[in-house]
Amino acid sequence: MPDPAVAAPADGPVRRSFGRLRLVFLFAALAVLPYLLSYSQQEIAVLLVINVLLVSSYRLLTLTGEWSLGHVVIMGVGAYASALLAKRLGVPVPLSLLIGGCMAAGTAAILSFPLFRMKGFYFLIGSFAAGEIIRLIWKRFTDPFGGPKGLKRIDAFPDIDTGFLSIDFYEPVNYYFLALVVVSASLFVLYRIERSRIGLTFHAIHWQDRLAESVGVDTFRYRTLAFVIASFFAGIAGGLYAHYVGAVNPTRFSVDQMVYVLVWAIVGGTATFHGPILGVVVLTVINEMVLRGLGLDTARPLIYGAILILSVLYLPDGLESLGPRLRAWLQRRRGGPAAAGGEAA
């Protein structure tokens, strides 16, 4: 499977400005979106934006070839840390969010010592075990973590009130824009990392770690780096969640939730940057619009499972592969056999 993110030749200026134009349209659409939604749909949109960051940060870790089952717990570390800092120590919320991200990153840095002695399946199981240990700590130590009931009445983002302009972040629309700004900035950083030599090195470790090591890549350090960066942004997503919902508990970060992240990533595809985002958006829309509309939302795990199986069988490269496939198909129809080879590659 060629990886477009790496293998693609440098974009020409025409394509680049076309890409920028598309980005402008996308943000315009995202700015208008909440005003077209009902109140409860706006709340879902906030969670969706947070989940976009969660699944995109997860993809950065998968670039090195390792799949973790602890990513949602790491998100929880950010959520708990930011909530406790604000509640107990009175740290202002935007700052607590940042420190929460750093705590999640620090947790990953410590965990990488035992976890990156393993690869593949063993890493997967090891990350699950590490996540469960963290969840048990939250459950066991009622002080400060609140035990199985978790933390409640977490401070919200402070209102902005400058006299003529006042923004109340209890309003989902306002929180939506706040989350959109934080998540867009985070995605930009993740994107830059992937397009830099660091991203090239992550891919190299994924495909041939021994060869990468032989030309001087410290594979342990780079695996740790991917894990730490991914965890930082998962922690930020956790903080955004905690200060929006106002409550966190260990069940919210259980492996059930992790399975959803995996389904989003697999259904969307992980070869491109936008694949997992596509996955989480499409599946959330299906979940909220279609299933809820039909009154089938209790059957969510069943339907998600079916979607996962169908996509693995019929769309193994994920939703992200639909675009190129469609383009190749159109070209074949339009240009006949002569143009068939061109774009399909």
Partner: protein, 279 residues
């Protein structure tokens, strides 16, 4: 060409590696002179590849030492050895198959293209990346691969993939290059060209050590040859001495009959009739 203090650039002393009850390398010692092309040969199962894997840091030695410029480097990480100038290649087409040819060589420039995390993020590494790009292209040009820079590796024929494997290693600017069976699977023409390139690499100041089955190539290319058998040193010397050594001939003939004449090990006299070995 010797190191100023007369020390060999790479040395093994009493090297031993056990896998459970199996002793793959047994109290094996050798020394590689700076600027030499040093061959390591032996019948199948003699422990050549294990020796290579110990020298290049994939396994720690069970006992004994590996010395690089007189410093003990046994058990160090492969990436740390690469940073010191000790770079290895792999058998077969061990490459980043999913990357373009150029990106393979760019990964080879990993050590030469250092830059901070923030400057990577902000794109301030442009100058060092442009240089890495140019050096990577130089390495490709050395092996005649510059016109294939944007091709995906999987489109390359086997011979070109072997060349690319060398280009990736060369991009890392080694002081000592460890080649693991560089001629395997090459046709005689490709072998001849590769031998020429290995000589040029040596003439550029890189010490070369290689493990190889193609006897004709080894005999023609190497300045000195170490023969292993049963994990230990059998004979060491110039190609002509090794070729006519009775112990070497016996080791190979014994192995050849043991293998049912598969001929993979080849005969040390292959210089005369070893054309079949190149296949």
């Amino acid at each position: 060409m010797n190191a100023p203090d007369g020390l060999p650039i790479l040395e093994a002393r009493g090297l031993t590696r056990r896998f459970g009850g199996l002793v793959a390398v047994d109290d094996f010692s050798f020394a590689v002179r700076e600027g030499a092309i040093h061959g390591l040969i032996g019948p199948n199962g003699a422990g050549k590849t294990t020796t290579f894997n110990v020298i290049s840091g994939f396994y720690a030695p069970t006992a004994g030492q590996v010395l690089y410029r007189g410093r003990d480097i046994s058990g160090r990480k492969t990436s740390a050895l690469a940073a010191m100038g000790l770079v290895r290649t792999f058998q077969g087409s061990t490459l980043f198959q999913e990357f373009s040819v150029l990106d393979n060589a760019r990964v080879g420039r990993h050590l030469g293209a250092r830059s901070g995390f923030l400057s990577r993020l902000l794109g301030a590494d442009r100058a060092s990346e442009a240089e890495a790009d140019a050096r990577a292209r130089d390495a490709l040009a050395f092996f005649g691969l510059e016109d294939l820079a944007d091709e995906p590796v999987s489109n390359l024929p086997h011979g070109h993939q072997r060349m690319l494997g060398m280009a990736v290693a060369l991009a890392a600017e080694p002081k000592v290059l460890l080649l693991d069976e560089p001629f395997t699977g090459m046709n005689p023409e490709e072998t001849r060209r590769m031998m020429e390139l290995v000589r040029r690499i040596r003439d550029d100041g890189v010490t070369v050590m290689l493990v190889e089955h193609d006897m004709q190539a080894v005999m023609n290319l190497c300045d000195i040859i170490t023969v292993m058998n049963f994990g230990a040193l059998l004979v060491e010397g110039a190609p002509d001495e090794v070729r006519n050594d009775p112990a070497v001939i016996e080791a190979y003939l014994g192995s050849a009959t043991g293998n049912g004449g598969s001929g993979n090990g080849g005969s040390p006299n292959g210089g005369a009739n070893g054309a079949g070995d190149a296949a």
